[in-house]
Symmetry: D2
Subunit: 289 residues, 4 copies
Amino acid sequence: MLHVAKKTEQTHPVVITVRAPDSTGLVAGIAGAVAQAQGNILDVGQHSDVDSNWFGCRLEVDPSVDAALLGEALDELAASRGLTWEIHDATERRRIVIVCSKTLHCASDLLARVSIGALLGDVVAVVSDYPDAEALADRHGIAFHHVPAAEDREAQERALGAVLEELDADLVVLARYMRILPAWLTERWAGSMINIHHSFLPAFAGAGPYTRAHERGVKLIGATAHYVTAELDAGPIIAQDVERVSHRDSVEDLIRRGADVERSVLAAAVRLHLENRVMIFGNRTCVFD
Amino acid sequence: MLHVAKKTEQTHPVVITVRAPDSTGLVAGIAGAVAQAQGNILDVGQHSDVDSNWFGCRLEVDPSVDAALLGEALDELAASRGLTWEIHDATERRRIVIVCSKTLHCASDLLARVSIGALLGDVVAVVSDYPDAEALADRHGIAFHHVPAAEDREAQERALGAVLEELDADLVVLARYMRILPAWLTERWAGSMINIHHSFLPAFAGAGPYTRAHERGVKLIGATAHYVTAELDAGPIIAQDVERVSHRDSVEDLIRRGADVERSVLAAAVRLHLENRVMIFGNRTCVFD
Amino acid sequence: MLHVAKKTEQTHPVVITVRAPDSTGLVAGIAGAVAQAQGNILDVGQHSDVDSNWFGCRLEVDPSVDAALLGEALDELAASRGLTWEIHDATERRRIVIVCSKTLHCASDLLARVSIGALLGDVVAVVSDYPDAEALADRHGIAFHHVPAAEDREAQERALGAVLEELDADLVVLARYMRILPAWLTERWAGSMINIHHSFLPAFAGAGPYTRAHERGVKLIGATAHYVTAELDAGPIIAQDVERVSHRDSVEDLIRRGADVERSVLAAAVRLHLENRVMIFGNRTCVFD
Amino acid sequence: MLHVAKKTEQTHPVVITVRAPDSTGLVAGIAGAVAQAQGNILDVGQHSDVDSNWFGCRLEVDPSVDAALLGEALDELAASRGLTWEIHDATERRRIVIVCSKTLHCASDLLARVSIGALLGDVVAVVSDYPDAEALADRHGIAFHHVPAAEDREAQERALGAVLEELDADLVVLARYMRILPAWLTERWAGSMINIHHSFLPAFAGAGPYTRAHERGVKLIGATAHYVTAELDAGPIIAQDVERVSHRDSVEDLIRRGADVERSVLAAAVRLHLENRVMIFGNRTCVFD
């Protein structure tokens, strides 16, 4: 429906994602559609949320599958069972826009990964409210857009929104962007804007998490990558991790140790998203990894 | 085939496990069988090993499924696709025998878990080559069998084998049993005998792993739960975990810290096995958790 | 001052803990006192909190040290530098009281550890507002005190306080005790009452943490052991750990997985406390491990 | 002795490291020397290895300490107690040389960290037996030296050795360099050459660790950073970490997941070394973190 695979040089599996109201026989129906299209299922991940009657399914299928036939078979199911589906193949490359402020370890890490081919996407631009990231973008031969703070806060937000539209981003990554986005922007990019928060959410949501973690004397610090929603730091969580700390660690030490967790959690979330391994249901996610 | 569900008081899901030579349409066939039997699939785990053409699948199905119908449908598939299947329901309770020597933290931990209902099985006896575990068994009101070392090593092995047969064990747990078992015994209990080794295998296989870990100056120690095969510490791995250590830790400290990892790794492996989440293929395992 | 070592059968190190207002030369003074008493320092842990000018130090000294001489030397320093000190040796065994409600995995785990000598202390009683733990206490040959809920909440609190006094507890462990204690009780046991909270504090403080973690869709759950203060779940943290979870885990699964983290975190905190490795400063702790 | 602090702009602590044959009163002597030089001790780490009678100590001292006086006081102790000492301050910046082959994630990660000031050192060159890293070095404005494989293996080794000498490296980082170094080279850089091995040593030492890990069916993969010695993958371990994997991971997946562990473990080891937190004794390390 959304995307039919371009069929060139397929060595990676084809990924099929399906969402539907839960009902008996759905897996049988979908697996039958794949069989009809001569596809061999390599991996299945499936989840039913009883409370909301939500069904989600992700299949990896041998690239020899006949995508046109498969699409037809899924369309039939779509009509009878109310499901929506997508087919993704390895030739699909998303347009990623990195948005950051002055702290650059996350942006720098994502660019280092992309530059050695570790992520299935292309970074098309770096956008920032500060000029600091320009040298980093230049070093990777990537466009830089400066959208500075302005007296009129809404003007800056509109400018940012316009840049993202113009760049035709498939995925917006807030890699330590320190401004709160307005609801209209988060809604525009619902499900395709990922933020890294430098704490183990829901602990220490909002500003200054490391200072507050230090004051509270926690023994682990963490980072959380989540889809952005209108409510600050409250969107569906994709990935979290923690790192052991001790009384010896000052706030500066927490910031340094946390930086490593932030970069690996954000990179993991971006990878999972690009590999179509994340599905949102309600305010939660399925992660088929 | 092996086990048809007893249908009383089913609130837990019914678990279906299937093994087969891999072929196109297997998942569709199995899911179709479930649909035929009015079953709703709650969870699917599936794995295909390309190298050995092995296919394994685990489904959780709503307990309202008609198990007799399901069995018939799977039998049809078995004939045409060469698959073998099992159906397990929540009323199934395995007979567990714990075998240990003088170090009792693993045995003690398993009994503590069973006594509060945290494992889907019953410990029917504790067996040991030393008398030390008798008090522990007594405290839990469980039979104790002493199979002491003898001049004739093979006689002791035959005695142990006889005790396990007599107890009609479904699962034998070697909870720090310090004798090497003969091939005939490991083959008799292939796939139903779990050992805990006190290192992160394959590092430090064999005797004295903590002493050797200390000498090598490793920064993490670990534990490995695996099915027992004729080759020492080389069977299919079910679960592993590690714990951070430092230069401050003496061999005694490693033993103490390691004990915690051992008990949690062994308990995890036993739980996964009892919930039919582990499948062996070649010398490896699928763990559907 | 508080405790002079009994000098019998010392194979474990003697532990010296010192607290003082921070000033230049403190470590030199303390190490000099140990040298004066013919002690060999095996391990030093030290921490200075710049903000509060707090200094804490823990030394492990060879048991051949002359404790009387050492006490004299430290008393001199105490006069001039305002420090307080304690000397602990391996013969010291604290009286532990376990307080629990209906959920028994933590109490059961602590008793299993104590019964195999894994903790430097003796459990003198189990106390509960429910009768459920009595069988557990009996099995270990330990006194059980039932302090049931009453119409008059304060009466129950006074009864609990009286039992703890009568038992002459050195350490009170709240092993999933589900009542909130009044300030007078937490103040009476300040620094010697440890609670396990079933979340990664400060996330999900208060009731029902697993249900709230499930709703929020977190990818890690945790447990926190802390000293109890008048403010609920807000006392100095001793130990924390987390466990990976996924969308597949129901609230019941989180409870089961969390139980393992709770028991190991609580046991770690109790061990650290009994080995005099924890010092409180402000609302935080130093943990010299 | 080796290095006396340059006293400009000291905001970071001064670090003193001491090694000696163990004897009573050493800590008192060292702490006394610091007190004599008006130094305030901020942190002490100390370790005594009973077996080899080795004593090592690391102190962080307020930068207001009089380094000349301190040096004199330590020299006196050196004469009487046989100790060796070093004083390091924050102005000290080591010359780092990165040596790599075709796999660049570790080199790329180190350069990304250095470029944002996250490591206390300067990368003065990238050296490789392949041309692939040249673009990476260029991007960071860093010299690149190509030392290609040659028919005469020893000639290539001599060429590499000559480049390292010429660069006057303080620290050589083997960031996935795939050639085995001759003993004369590892001995020349003893204690100042760090390698990252892509397994949890001592498991899977040597070539192809991920392939072997996959065959063995391990549930965790790891990485190990260690000082290089003449014996392959057997030098003193500085840092190790692991990552959870499953049956779903192919060898390629292990390589990808492992890459993240490798980069963070190597970066941690380099940071610990540059902050003078690592001391070698025998074939092991103390890490004062």
